[in-house]
């Protein structure tokens, strides 16, 4: 099996086969990381494409100080955040805004009418992702990478250029804030 450094060197030489290997190896990771931020499969696929084009164009800048996956995670996170900022996808900073959605409100109040379990799950996912989206940016990056992508605290530290205790603190605060936001939302909408 080709080593990571050889793969990088081959991609630097613009070797098509090596680039294909790189895409095959990291596509799932990039796709799911982007999806964790944008919550839309089509947007995540477009972003994955952008991420690999960026990798192809700037692979010469990769010096091998960090793991290749760390570098790719960083590009994926940056691309996703830029996408969100540009598209103003996250306008809701307070979960209360969700209760203004007639559709969601009705679904919560008339729970008994929901026969379809998948629909219920989808609705909960929407509420959960809105709550995650409303976290502060650093908490959100750390939390999403750890919870949705299962990235280790050490690697998150390298991706975000912060210390291990800082990562621990970010994730801890993210969990607490997420619970607070969800409790506040459900207290308001369940009764």
């Amino acid at each position: 099996m080709i080593s990571e450094s050889n793969l990088v060197e081959d991609v630097k030489r613009k070797d098509h086969a090596a680039f294909k290997k790189l895409v095959d190896q990291y596509q799932e990771m990039v796709l799911n990381t982007c999806y964790g931020f944008v919550h839309d499969i089509d947007d995540a696929k477009d972003l994955t494409q952008e991420v690999f084009i960026k990798i192809y164009d700037s692979i010469h800048k990769f010096r091998g100080d960090a793991k290749l996956s760390t570098w790719i995670y960083r590009i994926s996170v940056n691309k996703s955040l830029n996408f969100i900022r540009a598209a103003k996808k996250v306008k809701i900073t307070d979960l209360d805004a969700l209760s203004n959605s007639r559709d969601l409100k009705l679904r919560v109040h008339h729970e008994s009418e929901l026969a379809d379990i998948e629909m219920e799950r989808e609705q909960r996912s929407r509420i959960l992702f809105k709550a995650i989206d409303s976290l502060n940016e650093n908490q959100r990056i750390a939390f999403s990478l750890n919870k949705l992508e299962d990235v280790s605290y050490n690697e998150i530290g390298e991706i975000m250029n912060i210390s291990l205790p800082a990562v621990e603190s970010l994730i801890h605060r993210a969990k607490l804030n997420l619970q607070k936001k969800l409790i506040k939302y459900y207290k308001k909408n369940l009764n």
Binding site: H16, F19, K20, V23, D24, Q27, E28, L31, N32, Y35, I41, A44, K45, T48, Q49, F52, I53, Y56, R121, R124, S125, I127, L128, K147, L148, K175, L176, L178, Q179, L182, I183, Y186, K187, L190, N191
Partner: protein
Amino acid sequence: MKKQNKMKCKEVHKLIGPFLNGSMDVKKSGLFRSHLSECRSCEKLVGELSATLSILDEQKRILPDPFMHTRIWQEIENRQKTNVLFSVRRIVQPIMVAAILIIGIYIGIGLGNSYVSEAEEIASVDNRTLVDEFLFNEMDYEPIEIFLIDK
């Protein structure tokens, strides 16, 4: 004494996190469960929150797209072609603009020159006529005798 051991809704709301994480001690956990068995709204709240947070653990992985590499490679080739065209355009465009400007200036100067020389020609013809007919033939209109008579 019994009443003091019971948890209130407010306290339950504060402890939902530790309860769901499993980080609550046995005694508190018992009181928490006891409250849930008596309070329908808290039971519903904890149930909903638990179901929502559990989505994080069972989050579906999106499977890779088998055509992703082809799409990416196509896009890279398209961008490279566009970049070549853009580079050519970046070189050719100023040259074209400069050439058009020079041609324009040249035509302008040419037209300007030809216009001036025509005007001068007309003016010179008119002057000749004026000089011939009026300046040197004034005697035809004002004969010298008229001046002599006045004096």
